[in-house]
Symmetry: C2
């Protein structure tokens, strides 16, 4: 990385997406002196209230995307479902970090798993599904239970159906809206883990401690870090993360969600080319949070040893959970983060708490 | 403190002043879900770039102050030289925390020292100076060296002159602009210490560990925390801080700058009714930083044990010091904060570094 690739302090960083991840990226950037410009279709999105400037327009408005990208020194994104056309347009006017390839891979579950397997990152077996019949044949092939998921735009458990016997396969295809889909073999996992990793413009890779995650209804509830682990497990998680970052020529923070099987085998569940809910604990418990690390990489600055300081347990505040905010304020180990969302809805991520040394 | 005094998350907090202190308060508030509105005479001030909204107008524009205060749920200030008239106008439209009294006391060195002594907080001996003759008589009285300071609007060593012998007194009065002044006896201090303390709306007081400070040319260079201290010293510092907070019926964070004499006696140098440069280390090294603590108090939320986690050394980046930013980015113990100031000027505070466990 030459000094000329390094943006100056006071540089302007554009973020596609202005939800809570954009908000936490913006405040981390601000601490480093950077000015953040948010692009989001929603007026008064959470990140807009901590940004130097906000452009409100649909992602399909490529003129607005172009103006946005021309007004900044580098562009990043806070979520993987940014339309690729918008990302491509932005990349014509400013360095896009991470690049379009990471979006391409992460937006399509078949492309993603194919990419992972080709790069030495094992996953469950899977089949392409374009019809009810494909679903049936695939289920016979992979066994039950199996998971049918839309190829694109699924998150937090949406667009998914569990198939518990072969005759249910056709119905599952209807349930997910008869869209192009992937059928995945069930992973008999012992634990869900994740690893947050960062790669700088110069190829330097830094990896955060493994986290152990608990989901319910497809939504992350809790993360414990560091996860109980042995050296071999940590080495394998790091190997997988490094292989993915390198194959994508990635710049920024990436999350790898993993299944740990009973025998210690790790399979990749999915990747997220962005800062990640299972890395929120890093803000309260590491010297360099995932948010700072990402902004460093996007600015062409060095990524560094995050220096985890404390054990942490992160608890998501989902929907009404947030009503307990005042209790968390006086909890002796808690660091409370609220996302500034004015409407509570069931299943909506409203904030999180990190318990230190819990 | 009743639940009704407690502002809701997503409440709007107004801050008079948009420098680096306002900027750090705004990002701490954002983490708690609060929206921050900045009032500052300068366009594109550092805090404006992390705030939900900014009003740019002179402090003398009381209509603008009124509109600002009407648009928020509570008002605070980031520096003690906010014109009292502006603060008073704001307080007509929203709770002002801390209140006007703290400004009145802190803006005038004679009022301040009189208030301190009346409330059991010892200071150096001092004399009121309105003429060159007063300066001469005062110097004869207090001995040399003595310090002549303008009564109002001094900071970072400005508006001060050292008097080394009686004949120099008249000239010193000219040097500081023949303004109403205070003559202070010299404190033969062994160390400069400070204590950051917070008081909630319900009267709860929380005190951060003592810090040890090094100044040069009247500007803070370094803070070490916690300062080497024994129990008696800590108890006396806490007693002084509590006496001041209680006498002011204070809500928010206040800094008390102290001289420690050779025999361990503590004298108050000055107080700052706001978050303070000697408390910047708390952001990287405590569970609850001075910035969060202040925003909690202003929102009517509980102030809590800040739970210091790490030893810290804070180094100010003044003027050209900031040119070393890229070196600090890769220092293994450093947490870097830059204030987003676009122009470097000699003596200007551009950022700071907190070294953990140094």
């Amino acid at each position: 990385m030459s000094a000329s690739d390094r943006l100056s302090p006071c540089a302007r960083i554009g973020i596609l997406g202005g939800g809570q991840l954009g908000r936490m990226l913006a405040t981390a950037g601000a601490r480093l002196g950077l000015d953040v410009v948010i692009f989001d279709p929603q007026q008064a999105c959470p990140a807009s209230r901590v940004a130097a400037e906000t452009i409100t327009a649909p992602y399909e408005d490529l003129d607005a995307i172009a103006r946005f990208a021309q007004s900044v020194d580098a562009v990043t994104y806070e979520f993987e479902n940014v339309p690729v056309e918008a990302a491509r347009e932005a990349a014509r006017h400013a360095p896009l970090r991470p690049g379009v390839k990471a979006l391409d891979v992460a937006q399509d579950r078949i492309t993603e798993k194919t990419f992972l397997n080709e790069n030495g990152a094992p996953t469950v077996a899977f089949r392409r599904v374009r019809s009810a019949d494909d679903a049936k044949v695939g289920t016979e092939d992979l066994g039950v239970p199996a998971l049918l998921k839309t190829r694109r735009f699924g998150y937090d458990g949406k667009g998914q159906a569990v198939i518990r016997d072969v005759p249910a396969a056709a119905n599952a295809f209807v349930t997910i809206g008869e869209q192009p889909a992937i059928l995945e073999a069930f992973a008999p996992f012992a634990r869900e883990l994740s690893v947050i990793a960062a790669r700088g413009l110069d190829g330097t890779i830094e990896i955060y401690p493994l986290s152990e995650n608990v989901h319910a209804d497809g939504i992350l509830r809790e993360t414990k870090a560091p996860a109980r682990s042995n050296k071999a497990l940590r080495a394998e998680a790091s190997r997988i993360a490094e292989a993915i970052l390198t194959a994508l020529d990635y710049v920024g923070v990436l999350a790898v969600e993993l299944f740990e099987l009973e025998d210690g085998t790790l399979l990749v569940n999915e990747i997220a080319p962005r800062v990640h809910n299972t890395g929120h604990w890093t803000e309260a418990a590491c010297r360099v949070s995932q948010f700072e690390q990402h902004m460093r990489a996007v600015a062409g600055w060095p990524v560094v040893d995050p220096a985890p300081i404390r054990k942490a347990r992160m608890i998501n505040l989902i929907g009404d959970d947030v009503d307990a905010w005042a209790d968390w304020l006086v909890h002796p180990n808690a660091v409370l983060t609220l996302y500034g969302k004015r409407q509570t809805r069931p299943g909506r991520k409203m904030g999180h708490v990190t318990l230190l040394d819990d």
